[in-house]
Amino acid sequence: MSLFWITVIMLIGVIVPVVTERYGRNVNTLCTMIAPAISFAYVISLVPTVLAGNTVIETLEWIPAIGLTLSMRLDGLALMFALLILGIGLLIIFYARYYLSKDEAAGRFFAYLLLFMTAMLSIVIANNVLQLWMAWEVTSISSFLLISFWGSKSGSRKGARMALTVTGAGGLALLAGLLIIADIVGSYDLEVILTSGDLIREHAMYPIALILVLLGAFTKSAQFPFHFWLPHAMAAPTPVSAYLHSATMVKAGIFLLARFFPVLNGTDMWFLIVTVAGLATLVLGAYTALFKHDLKGLLAYSTVSHLGLIVLLLGLDTKLATVAALFHIMNHAVFKASLFMAAGIIDHETGTRDMRQLSGLWKFMPHTATLAMVAAAAMAGVPLFNGFLSKEMFFAESLNQDSLGFLSWMVPVLATLAGIFAVAYSLRFIHDVFFNGEATDLPKTPHEPPRFMKVPVEILIVLCIAVGIFPAFLVGDFLASASSAVLRSELPYYSLAIWHGVNMPLIMSIIAIVGGVVVYAARSHLFRFQAQFEEADAKLIFEAWVQGIVAVATRIDEGLSNGSLQRYVAALLTFAMVIMAVPLIDLSVSKAHLPEQPVSFVDTVAAIILCISALATVIFHRKRALALITLSVVGLIVSVAFARFSAPDLALTQLAVEVAAVILLILALYFLPKSTLTESSPSRVVRDIGIAAAIGGIVATINYAFMTQPLDTISDFYLANSKTGGGGTNAVNVILVDFRGLDTLGEILVLGVAALGIFKLLADIRLSMTSANEKGIPWSEDKHPPILVMISQSLLPLALLVSFYIFLRGHNMPGGGFIAGLITSIALIQQYIAHGVDWIKPRLTINYQTLIAWGVLIATFTGVGSWFFGRPFMTTWFDYFDIPFIGEIELASALIFDLGVYLTVVGATLLILANLGKLTSIHRPTAEE
């Protein structure tokens, strides 16, 4: 087994709940738990290796050429997180079985949950920063799906959107930060990055990278001022909240800080930003939590506060603070998950989470109450529970640090203050709900939940107590291993014991507990005080911001895009013009100037005809039929030019394409308005002439610049190997079917796709067809003149013979599949024109789509064929055979490839032209074909 299997198994696990949903809730839940259970067991099996101080790293080359590898690592930090994610995850799945009601889509829920779990796991075991970031984004998206699970509620949708926006934006910042770090180090490999701390810290880009990474971490971990999304994510089903806000989602940010601790920590900037953000979040969260009437709201702000505490610890400049941070990550995950589950039970059994309604539940659910009390005590930091130990360490380190310079004294004071509020809100959670008088007008009569719903809570509570009493025995090794992975140096001395004697931290704890009780007792005064402030609803503010941004974006968009293609093309061309013109200013073409070749009289005449026709096309472009004729003159001269400049293949192709294109445009003209009215304003015309002239001038300049430079070509290779390697003497054709055969394959594919697209566009098109031209002269009655019919018919076999000849000789002389295909198409189109569709239809029963498909398939399989002979894709085979009476002939696999090209070209051209022609007849294409 390997670490990669964790991701694979978990991804398979995502499908499982959807498939097994139909077999009932119990089967569904158990099947869902299989994948996490396997992964959990596998991670457990690696525990001895990792605790012995080893880091398991596995690498899989992906695209080594650009430094992309898939890589997994399991060190102490990853191990701790993986165990939390999988362990608590399993409990959550079990709990959700009882939480979700029968008619809810449990399969979908579990699928989202497992996707999220997979993403979280992938974050912690990633050994490549890009991989880490990918997984990070997947957590944002899957948490969006989870939070919006009850999508019919407006709050769920808004809360989910807010969480996605904030964490998604942070994710982008993180990507930028990671790229900068990878750029500094020159590797995406985490192991390399983690050992390059000094290099990164001394780099000029360090502050930017730090801020970007911190933005990612702070948004995810809901640090002030990005904390506002977390309470609104409480709209999620409670198992989701219990999972996202204890062991996972929000801990991803903390994980990131811990992961990059070795490279980013150690500068004043780190201490300042991280300490201040953590401190502000700690105090703000603790204070706000007390005033939340919603059970989950209280827990949400408490989570914010505890996250602040952990971030603060990571920001303090002592090694012990880091150890304390990691310890608190574990403890918080355990007690917070159990508290959320308890809140879920209360909600489930009473129908409300409002603490102003809830009271006196002790009588109805003493068992749940006891569990909640233990968890709340751990949250408050009462001795004998796990929360106490890490809080104690936190108090101790708040006294030992020097992170804020002369203002460092504020840290312990504010820490104690937050401690006081933590005790007060924990007390409120218990006293308001379970005691505080009799239960009155609850939506449901409360009672204990199903037996098994409490099991996950009980397991966590046992952990709370056990860790609280035997810390060193139970988690000492894990903590040491995680700490050394984060600190990457010798661990400081610390002792995980309950009793350290009477010292400052203990006194601070006592102050916190006593103060908390006092604050809680005086809560009515505080509530009255707090009621004076109007509570800002983050949701409204956020929505207003979103609306504002959308409004601004809409305005900009409307200003830029008015639907006018002319405007876009003009902008695009102007931009291209500037881009092309600027380098030309610095370019000196006088160096290495080649002498010009002589110009003959014929050349000059041809050039003049070309230019006059081109200009005439522009001048007469409103008289469309005339413009088409002058355009075809340009095309003809271009094909003559190809012939003149030693490119017979091009000349033939251009000629054939020219014929096909003119037929196409004439057909199209029938369906388009026959002439264009004068529409452009004079100033628009002047502007366009300016742009056109500038671009024409620039293109000509560039063309001249490179044409007068000595030729340094890679084509000598092709010329030298054309015969020996490709078996043909026509180098152009050998390049097409052999050397660059893959390109040609792509090109015929494009051709085929374009033809199919056109076919779809033509299906069910509704066009008005005129019966006369623009001057009102009706079309000729004589649709199929006999002379044309006769000549075309007798020309057909001749034309097919020519195209066959051109096809066969293509490998050695000008010709080939493209040209032969075009000639065949034109010959067939000629028949359509002469005889009409009605005559052709029963005589030519070829399905052009099938023809295209065959062409592409033949070309592809010719390429694939070379695999069977152990050669790379598209290796040509050829040999010479002596056939009696005919002589020696050459057979090459390239010929079969060219056949594919030929068929595709014929199919595509005819699919376009024949169907366009059919529009006027009853055989018009329909969407069903």
Partner: protein, 121 residues
């Protein structure tokens, strides 16, 4: 010869660009066709102008560069497919929207026509 060649390329380019900036679909199709001539000539000339040496082995002393020729050959065919696609798109646009304008003006009955077209399907 080179000067004459680039003047022709420049003029065809300019004509193509100008036509692409018109407000009707047919002019744009013609402009694109013209531009693709210019582009093909431009690319082709990167192999320089050789008047005596078609790239067929054994027929000449000094061969023309076959690589730009091969690239331009496929470009011509693909260019045809592109022109065909654009012109059919223009037809479809006219059929569904009732006009061949691309200048951003919405004829008053466009919406009605779209509704009719969709409703009938």
């Amino acid at each position: 010869m080179e000067s004459l060649y680039v003047v022709c390329v420049g003029i065809i380019t300019a004509c193509g660009v100008f036509l692409c900036l018109r407000g009707r679909t047919f002019s744009i199709v013609v402009g694109l066709t013209m531009l693709s001539y210019a582009v093909n000539l431009f690319l082709f000339s990167s192999g320089r102008l050789n008047m005596t040496g078609a790239a067929v082995l054994g027929l000449a002393e000094d061969y023309a560069d076959p690589l730009p020729q091969a690239l331009v050959l496929t470009a011509i065919v693909i260019g045809f497919a592109m022109i065909a696609f654009v012109v059919i798109l223009a037809m479809r646009g006219r059929a569904d929207l009732g006009n061949d304008l691309v200048d951003g003006r919405e004829p008053p009955d466009t919406k009605k026509l779209i509704d009719i077209t969709r409703g009938k399907k």
